[in-house]
């Protein structure tokens, strides 16, 4: 059977992941241990959770630059609620996620109602949230609470020496949730339609404005959740945390095979994309002789490759469309 052309990008992503992981196992025996896998899932949990939200934004043809600042802001807010107001971390997390989602919705409303470039609105959101961090707290503060320690200590043993942490489990749940929303709800399909051709989507009866508002609300939700996970994982809050994570998240989405112009891609691809970035980091750490900046070089090179691949795929589409008449 002929492979559907929509799957080309994600197959390329999967191939890269298998190659990198295979190379790791070939070069370093320890790489095949589940310990590495567990660490990968834990260390990249907050990035992948953010990237799942970013996937929806990019699928809709937009961008969200505020997510890195959101992670830091949520951390500082959590620390304040837990240590300053003596709240239970779970209550603080729920409040934080509501605040994050509301902020996402706010940006979404501006983007949809005033038809403004998401780039500039979320850039404003990025500065605003980063500034708000310092309004609440100037320094790094620990989040001290028995629940946070318990969260950090929670483990599910994997076969071999590895284990899954609470962060990793939350991340996996997020990915599954993201897949369901993207592929099995009308909202999810509407996001694809808007990213594919906004004008047509409108004429097909897709509620474009409300869908766009929900996309940024969802991104706010996921980045706030990521902020909560990050705060629990590090048991601290720092106003300068997660600088540039928005760009890492975009990279994970693109390496995961989602079209930067919107309309095509998979949440699962984003998961693979995030893991690929983690594997590259791990490989460079294992090697020992390479500077950690090589991670950036590798990711940069991969991005070049994937963007060219995307271009080729979209070109084959539009070529058919024009050539048909």
């Amino acid at each position: 059977m002929k492979i559907n052309e929509r799957f080309y990008p994600i197959l390329a992503t999967l191939a890269v992941l298998v190659l990198l992981y295979g190379y790791g196992i070939f070069e370093h025996r320890a790489f095949s241990d589940t310990y590495v896998l567990g660490a990968l899932l834990t260390d990249n949990a907050f990035l992948i959770i953010t990237a799942v939200g970013m996937t929806f934004v990019i699928l809709s043809g937009g961008i969200d630059l505020s997510v890195g600042s959101m992670i830091a802001f949520i951390g500082v807010l959590m620390a304040e609620l837990v240590t300053g107001f003596g709240m239970h971390p779970v209550t603080a997390a729920v409040i934080s996620i509501i605040v994050g989602s509301a902020f996402g919705a706010f940006m979404g409303v501006i983007i949809a109602k005033f038809d403004i470039q998401p780039f500039i609105i979320t850039l404003a959101g990025m500065f605003f949230l980063r500034g708000m961090c310092f309004l609440i707290n100037l320094d790094s503060v620990p989040i001290d609470h028995p629940f946070v320690s318990a969260f950090g200590g929670f483990k599910v043993q994997l076969p071999g020496r590895g284990w899954l942490t609470a962060s990793a489990l939350l991340m996996l749940a997020t990915v599954i949730g993201g897949v369901v929303i993207a592929h099995f709800t009308r909202f999810g399909r509407n996001v694809y339609a808007i990213g594919g051709d906004r004008h047509s989507a409108e004429l097909l009866g897709v509620p474009v404005h409300s869908t766009i508002i929900r996309v940024y609300t969802l991104s706010g939700f996921f980045s706030a959740l990521s902020g909560v996970v990050f705060a629990f994982y590090t048991a601290s809050a720092y106003p300068l945390a997660a600088v540039g994570v928005e760009l890492d998240a975009i990279a994970a989405v693109v390496i995961g095979g989602t079209l930067l112009t919107g309309g095509m891609g998979f949440v699962m691809g984003t998961f693979f994309g995030g893991i690929i970035m983690g594997v590259i980091q791990t490989l460079i750490a294992f090697d020992g002789s390479l500077n950690s900046w090589w991670t950036k070089i590798m990711i940069g090179a991969l991005l070049f490759g994937f963007i060219v691949l995307q271009r080729l795929i979209t070109r084959s589409f539009s070529g058919m469309r024009a050539g048909a008449s």
């Binding site: 592929h183 399909r189 694809y192 339609a193 594919g196 009866g205 589409f317 058919m320």
Partner: protein, 529 residues
């Protein structure tokens, strides 16, 4: 010419020359309960333009109702008002006797008014099944059941007799199939009212027959169908009643059988058409300037076009005939450098021309009016003036800007010469009607004084009046010493103006007809052989 042509089409057209009774059948005396959609006194005003004024329109259950008019007559605006794309400024729209206020096309769809637009308005990156079922996917426990959704999509396509893989992206299918999919979607929506806006523009003969069969079936099921087209023979083939608009106002509603075609054209144009019916072959040889020769030698590209040879000279119109996908458009694109040929050359007065890109072609003095005006032709946001000077400026290079006064002169001259209907030269081209956009594109090439002008479907989606204007223009250009290569799917058009016709089939040139050999029959024979 159009009347001549119409008379030459036996079977397709019914002319009732004696009959002058164009009885208006509106409102009173009608069984109101049979009216599904009723528009009263509809008005829509844009800054400086009354796009629609005091228009009444009634659609009955089980009828196919043609909505006709020239470019800018208000057909599209009326449809947009009915479907909620534009809020109306005056009047009422009622469905089944209830006044409705759709805020967007989705609202109208839910109420039972589905529309298929002239340009395919589906999402190319999504699968066929998804395009068919968007917002209507089968749900199971609140989640989409893809199995059921795909089955429903297949059913929807079966009605049209389409058997294609519904999982492949829509963009991987031809425009004609995409159009049929759009219709399948509208049909599957359980609509009470189906609006088809120029649905046949990109379909070939068999596909049109399929569409008409389906329209007939849907009518028999009690659907009200609004059919917008500029093919008058199609109006007489399928419609029951005709509503004519002109300049945003209602001319009248008529029973198709009782309205002679000549009267219909008069209603649409509000003027006599006789002046444009001069046949080109008679005034041949009116050009006696320098003999410029354009020779296309074995121009081809793998999987796109088999090598084609064709000669043109100044003051000559060469027609490119053939069915959809026969290679007409592809040849145009290769000559203009939009697609790079991998074999063959084009010679201008014996010198080979480098055609690596449209830029080179423009430098050599070639011009192309593409088939897809909206996408490839106009720059919608730029003004009429800016669009007109675009090619000339491109040819001069950006280091030698055309002075503003000169630009204005070009624009004003062209607006006058081609009769472009625009309040002034600073109006964005995107706001003009299709026929006027086409005239702007023609104007763009005319000011750059090309040697060869390629017109790909110059009259597609353009109404009778502008149609005649454009044909007249093509003839005048030719008399001024241009070589013209005109690709068209309307045979009568080609027969009317071409000095020579290259017939294309299956991406190959199969025949070349000259002078008196050119008849509709001979072209059809060449295509079919």
């Amino acid at each position: 010419m159009i009347l001549d042509v119409l008379r030459q089409m036996p079977g397709c057209v019914r002319l009732y020359p004696q009959q002058k009774t164009s009885k208006t059948v509106q409102g009173e005396g009608q069984d109101m309960s049979n009216t599904v959609l009723s528009v009263r006194g509809a008005g829509k005003f844009f800054p400086g333009v009354k796009a629609l004024e005091d228009v009444d329109f009634d659609l009955e259950r089980g009828e196919i109702h043609a909505l006709l008019g020239e470019n800018g007559a208000g057909k599209s605006t009326l449809i947009k008002v009915i479907t909620g794309v534009h809020p109306r400024d005056a009047g009422t729209v009622s469905l089944d006797g209830q006044e409705i206020h759709p805020q967007h096309p989705g609202d109208a769809q839910e109420l039972g008014i589905s529309t298929v637009y002239q340009e395919v308005n589906l999402v190319p990156t999504m699968s066929v099944a998804e395009n068919l079922m968007l917002e209507r996917q089968s749900l199971k426990f609140g989640l989409i059941s893809w199995k059921k959704t795909e089955a429903h999509a297949k059913q929807a396509l079966e009605i049209l007799g389409l058997d294609i893989d519904v999982n492949r992206p829509l963009g991987s299918y031809s425009v004609a199939i995409q159009q049929l999919i759009a219709i399948a979607r509208a049909v599957a929506l359980d609509a009470k009212v189906l609006i088809l806006d120029e649905p046949t523009a990109s379909l070939d003969g068999d596909e049109i027959k399929t569409l008409f069969r389906i329209m007939g079936e849907l009518r028999d099921k009690g659907l009200g169908i609004v059919f917008v087209t500029h093919f008058l023979d199609q109006v007489y083939t399928v419609t029951d009643r005709i509503t004519v608009l002109r300049n945003g106002r209602l001319v009248g509603t008529f029973v198709t059988k009782e309205l002679a075609q000549i009267d219909l054209i008069n209603h649409m144009l509000g003027r006599e058409l006789a002046e444009v019916s001069a046949h080109r072959h008679q005034d041949e040889g009116s050009y006696d300037g320098p003999e410029r020769q354009i020779q296309i030698k074995n121009l081809g590209k793998k999987r796109v076009l088999e090598p084609v040879s064709l000669d043109l000279k100044a003051g000559e119109i060469v027609g490119l005939a053939g069915l959809l996908g026969s290679g007409r458009t592809e040849l145009s694109e290769l000559v203009f450098g939009t697609q790079k040929a991998d074999s063959g050359l084009v010679f201008l007065d014996g010198e080979p021309v480098m055609l690596r890109s449209p830029r080179h072609a423009i430098r050599a003095g070639f011009g192309l009016c593409p088939e897809d005006r909206k996408q490839d032709g106009i720059v919608a946001e730029l003004s009429v003036r800016e669009n007109i000077v675009l090619a000339l400026q491109g040819r001069r290079g950006w280091l030698r800007p055309i002075p503003r006064a000169e630009q204005q002169q070009f624009a004003d001259d062209m607006i006058k010469a081609l009769g472009i209907a625009t309040p002034d030269s600073e109006k964005p081209v995107g706001q003009l009607s299709g026929g006027n956009q086409q005239k702007v594109i023609l104007a763009r090439w005319l000011v750059s004084k090309p040697i060869l002008l390629i017109l790909d479907e110059p009259t597609r989606g353009i109404d009778v009046g502008a149609h005649a204007d454009i044909i007249k223009l093509i003839k005048e250009l030719c008399d001024e010493g241009l070589a013209l290569l005109v690709a068209s799917s309307e045979l009568e058009e080609i027969v009317a103006f071409a000095d020579r016709v290259a017939v294309m089939r299956d991406r190959e040139k199969v025949s070349e007809l000259v002078g008196a050999e050119i008849t509709q029959d001979s072209i059809i024979e060449a295509i079919a052989r």
